[in-house]
């Protein structure tokens, strides 16, 4: 099968280009990460990130035939119709909207800056109990679908609002994490958290197009979380 990979080395290349490779999959429905390993055997200079190879670490987020996802848990048959059969090439590009360090490796700095802004840790200024802060099963259930985020950046880098204003719009991943702590019964910094989201960019740049939902490899729904935060802002603001 044909594989077309985005290649760019800022130190030697004037501009990015797509490089074609031929890979023998022996008809197997391999994961995209396996294809990258086969390409790496042919061309040691091609760079990509990987670690756990089972969809937990979030290192190998990339754009596969136009859609973001994790290479390690995306089989060829799910990339696009015709790719597995070799009728169409597998096209791999880095996550869109972030600066490219080299080939498929992007600089995640802007993404992590936005994550840092939502203060993704429990804040509670009441005296700590002797053992731990308890939650009822119902309270605990409220953070299901939120805490599972692995920060792979597939969602934020598929969001046009994040592409245009990556320094001002927090992006779906950071906003999902923001709601994860707003929804946590043990956190009591709700007012401080909400007051930082009330401007026209941080949260309200979300226009609800749900690209984030369609690409999340963990099946999470940042749009719904953003809607919950918006409701909290509405209750607080009027």
């Amino acid at each position: 099968m044909k594989v077309s990979i985005y290649r760019y080395n800022p130190e030697t290349d004037r501009e990015p280009s797509m490089k074609e490779y031929e890979v023998d999959t022996q008809g197997k429905d391999l994961m995209v990460l396996d294809i990258l390993a086969l390409v790496k055997e042919q061309d040691q200079s091609m760079a990509y990130r990987r670690s756990c190879r089972e969809g937990v670490c979030g290192s190998d987020g990339m754009n596969m035939n136009g859609k973001n996802g994790l290479a390690c848990i995306t089989p060829l048959s799910q990339v696009a119709p015709g790719v597995l059969e070799g009728k169409k090439p597998l096209i791999l590009r880095p996550l869109p909207g972030l600066p490219v360090i080299r080939d498929l490796v992007v600089d995640m700095g802007m993404f992590y800056n936005q994550y840092e802004k939502v203060q993704p840790y429990l804040q509670n200024n009441t005296p700590a109990p002797a053992i731990e802060r308890l939650q009822s099963p119902e309270e605990r259930a409220k953070i299901d679908g939120l805490y599972e985020c692995i920060l792979c950046a597939c969602c934020s880098t598929s969001c046009p609002s994040f592409w245009w204003n990556p320094d001002k719009f927090l992006g779906p991943a950071a906003l999902l994490q923001s709601y994860r702590f707003l929804a946590d019964s043990r956190d009591n910094a709700t007012e401080e958290r909400l007051s930082k989201l009330d401007d026209p960019f941080s949260l309200f740049r979300c226009h609800g197009i749900m690209n984030c939902v369609s690409v999340c490899p963990k099946g999470l729904n940042p749009t719904r979380a953003i809607g919950h935060i918006r409701s909290m802002l509405l209750e607080r603001g009027i």
């Binding site: 204003n165 989201l197 401007d199 026209p200 941080s202 740049r205 603001g237």
Partner: protein, 123 residues
């Protein structure tokens, strides 16, 4: 939090609310107007003028003109701050954005005043 704010409500929540409320006003007006046109049968100039000249329609038209202006401003402010940025225009972005926003604001003020004159001018 982002501090430089030049949107209509000067706050994301109020901009969002203004856009939703104005959309509802525009939607209700359009449906109401469509309903009127469907049930009113043969319309002539006299009946149209007396319909539009009624105090209810003057208030509805005023609300519509204000809603369209507010909706347009919030929407286009979003478009200009999405696309007329340093990513597309480099260092000239602030100037380009300012010119575009001033042009949009002036056009909307003219539209608003002209609309109000037409509605309440009694011509």
């Amino acid at each position: 939090m982002v501090t430089p704010v030049t949107s209509l409500g000067r706050n994301g929540l109020y901009d969002w609310l203004i856009q939703r409320v104005s959309a509802v006003i525009i939607g209700v007006y359009l449906i109401g107007m469509l309903g009127y046109l469907m049930v009113s049968g043969d319309l002539d100039y006299g009946s149209w003028k007396s319909f539009m000249g009624s105090i209810c329609m003057q208030i509805a038209n005023t609300l519509l003109v204000i809603a369209v202006a507010a909706h347009t401003w919030v929407g286009l402010w979003g478009v200009t701050t999405d696309y007329l940025t340093s990513l597309t225009f480099g260092k000239a972005a602030t100037g380009v954005r300012l010119i575009a926003q001033v042009a949009i604001a002036l056009a909307l003020v003219v539209y608003l005043l002209w609309g109000l004159v037409l509605i309440w001018g009694g011509a």
